[in-house]
């Protein structure tokens, strides 16, 4: 397999403006299949905007984003194709409160992938077992704890059998005692060979499973490298300063 075939996400000189505010200033990133990428940086650095541009929840104005061979533009079918292959987990879970856990998970496979109800429900039960909450299948999201809800959200994204998983600060809205149960699921997923982009400040997670880390600040990638390099020998002052702030407590 050649080098180019291995690339699943390719971002070149990508820019994003909100009105006059230049949120992302020329981002370049190549992600290979099965890579686990951790993105971190201060709030307002553009890291969430960046990850949300990968499945076009945010529109970029300049540059190029190619996901699984599809160039993201204004073509709705291209966008929907990319979204089918890309699972996303949100900070606020965004489960559908009017549907049971099971209904949350099977909705997209049935409506988008056109699976039969039976196939979708069998897959859903397997996923719920994988994230450790098969007994909650017929409850409503409002009846679950935050950690359980986020695990349902992961199962819901996985049900579409995506090639890439995007995590936008998946543990930031959780109580401390629930963070671990979600991280455990993510670690297991990373080790199973899923391509993952994770925006997070959970540095233990990064050290354990990340292949590469990217430090974002003020709309730019300040520094990138392996976790060892970033934690033990960062090149940039800004990276050092930020790491010392989030690791000090």
């Amino acid at each position: 397999m050649s080098e180019a075939d291995d690339t699943i996400i390719s971002v070149r000189d990508m820019h994003k403006w909100y009105g006059n505010f230049h949120a992302l200033k020329g981002i370049n990133m190549e992600v290979k299949k099965k890579e686990v990428i951790v993105i971190f940086g201060p709030s307002g650095s553009g890291k969430s905007t960046f990850i949300r541009a990968i499945n076009r929840l945010e529109e970029h104005q300049r540059g190029e984003i190619i996901v699984d061979g599809i160039t993201l533009g204004h073509d709705v079918r291209d966008i929907e194709q990319v979204r089918m292959e890309t699972g996303m987990v949100f900070q606020q879970f965004n489960l559908f409160p009017h549907l049971t856990v099971m209904q949350n998970i099977v909705l997209a496979p049935i409506q988008v992938r056109k699976w039969t109800k039976q196939k979708a429900e069998e897959t859903a039960m397997q996923l719920l077992e994988r994230v450790g909450i098969p007994e909650q299948a017929h409850k409503y999201p409002g009846q679950l704890s935050g950690g359980q809800q986020q695990r349902v959200a992961i199962a819901r994204a996985l049900a579409m059998q995506p090639k890439i998983m995007l995590f936008d600060e998946p543990t930031s809205a959780l109580d401390p005692e629930m963070i671990k149960e979600v991280l455990d699921v993510m670690v297991e997923l990373a080790r199973s060979g899923m391509t993952m982009l994770v925006v997070t400040h959970e540095m233990g997670f990064a050290r354990a499973v990340a292949d590469r880390m990217f430090f974002f600040d003020q709309g730019e990638i300040v520094e990138s490298g392996t976790p060892e390099k970033i934690f033990d020998d960062p090149n940039e002052e800004r990276t050092k300063l930020f790491l010392s702030q989030i690791l000090s407590h």
Partner: protein, 395 residues
């Protein structure tokens, strides 16, 4: 030593309650006496009138007019059959979805209670038959819920078309099976019911579409929706009804004449849709952006996200407002009396024009009001139960 005291047990008796709540202090006592005087004074006037002065013969003699207008008596069986179908479906539904509620089952006895009113021999038999139909439907629904669910839903979908078909008739000739009854003979509660049912049923989807149109990305769709909503909300219903009756024929080709009742139905529907659109828009705005994003991120299209995720939540939120709107439609249909249709209010006016019953407005309008109130309150009550069973505000 165990120092915990047993909880205070309230010995509730009416007298005790009265002493606590009505005569707790001298001020309470004063207010209670004052309040009682006002209630007595108000009720005394009404009750004295209702029980001694009022001539209720005007209502009992014209009961049929008030209920079905000039609808020919020989064809009234069709209305009974239509009503029977609705009651059978209601019984079925209650048996399936409210199987444990004795209260709802008791509601099915309502036709039997109505039989106590001075309807005459024939209607009394029908009312008893309706009661039995409802109870049989209830029993079947309870016995075979899973089997019947689908057919009951289908039944509700076709219920109004069937009712209208029965009311209208099939055969053009006078002597054929179910001859057509012209709409100028439809009247009374029957017409009010049909105007309301059609108005609610058609304005609902139209209102949802207008609400979605108002939020559309496409400028033409958005502008058209806004223009429609604001135009219709800017004029009174009565002007729309007048336009439908008087102006519409001017725009239509000569050979095309729309039925007067149909025109009123269209007017009520178009009017109500504009208000519904704004209610639905309010519901849509209450749904967080994260819900859309979650749908899109899963690969659902915009339409699928709207249909499966956003609308179900938005509509559930606005059930109380929707029912308020439906009740308003029900009462607003009374305005068709002004453009010459004989709905409940229109027929009341003709009853009062009879030489025998001059000057009996109070009796007739009290009776008509009672009908409106019973049905409006029924809708309101059912919507509250619906909210409870959907868990609105809980999840």
């Amino acid at each position: 030593m165990d120092s915990t005291l047993p909880p205070l047990t309230e010995r509730s008796s009416i007298l005790r309650w009265m002493r606590q709540n009505l005569f707790g202090s001298w001020l309470d006592t004063l207010l209670t006496l004052l309040g009682s005087l006002i209630v007595y004074w108000a009720l005394k006037g009404f009750l004295t009138w209702a029980l001694t002065v009022a001539e209720w013969e005007v209502v009992s003699a014209n009961l049929r007019l008030l209920i079905i207008g000039q609808y020919p008596l020989a064809q009234a069986w069709r209305l009974w059959m239509g009503l029977g179908f609705l009651i059978f479906l209601s019984g079925n539904s209650l048996g399936i979805w409210a199987r444990d509620s004795k209260f709802y089952a008791a509601l099915l006895l309502a036709p039997a209670l109505l039989a106590a009113l001075p309807f005459g021999e024939e209607p009394r038999k029908w009312l008893i038959a309706l009661t039995l139909t409802g109870l049989i439907g209830w029993g079947l629904g309870r016995a075979r819920p899973e089997v019947l669910k689908r057919s009951v839903i289908t039944g509700w979908v076709i219920a109004l078309p069937i009712f209208i078909l029965l009311t209208n008739g099939l055969s053009e000739s006078e002597i054929g099976f179910m001859p057509v009854v012209k709409t100028n003979l439809w009247g009374g509660l029957l017409l009010t019911f049909l105007l309301t049912a059609v108005g609610i049923l058609f304005s609902f989807p139209l209102g949802v579409l207008l609400a979605l149109g108002r939020r559309s990305q496409l400028p033409v769709v958005r502008l058209a929706s806004v223009a429609y909503i604001e135009l219709v909300r800017g004029v009174p219903l009565i002007t729309i009804l007048f336009m439908a009756q008087l102006m519409l024929p001017l725009f239509l080709p000569d050979n095309l004449t729309l039925d007067r009742v149909l025109r009123a139905m269209v007017g009520v529907t178009l009017f109500s849709a504009a208000y519904l659109a704004e209610n639905v828009r309010g519901g849509l705005q209450a749904i967080s952006h994260g819900q859309y994003e979650a749908g899109y991120a899963l690969g659902l299209s915009g339409a699928q996200t709207m249909a499966f995720i956003i609308l179900p939540q938005a509509l559930r939120l606005i059930i109380p407002i929707l029912v308020g709107q439906f009740i308003a439609v029900f009462k607003d249909t009374a305005l068709v009396a002004i453009v010459g249709l004989f709905d409940l209010v229109g027929i009341a006016k003709t009853v009062l024009a009879q030489p025998d019953f001059l000057g009996l407005q109070r009796e007739v309008y009290v009776f008509v009001s009672l009908i409106y109130w019973v049905l409006s309150y029924g809708m309101s009550y059912l919507s509250q139960r619906l909210e409870e069973s959907l868990g609105v505000g809980k999840r």
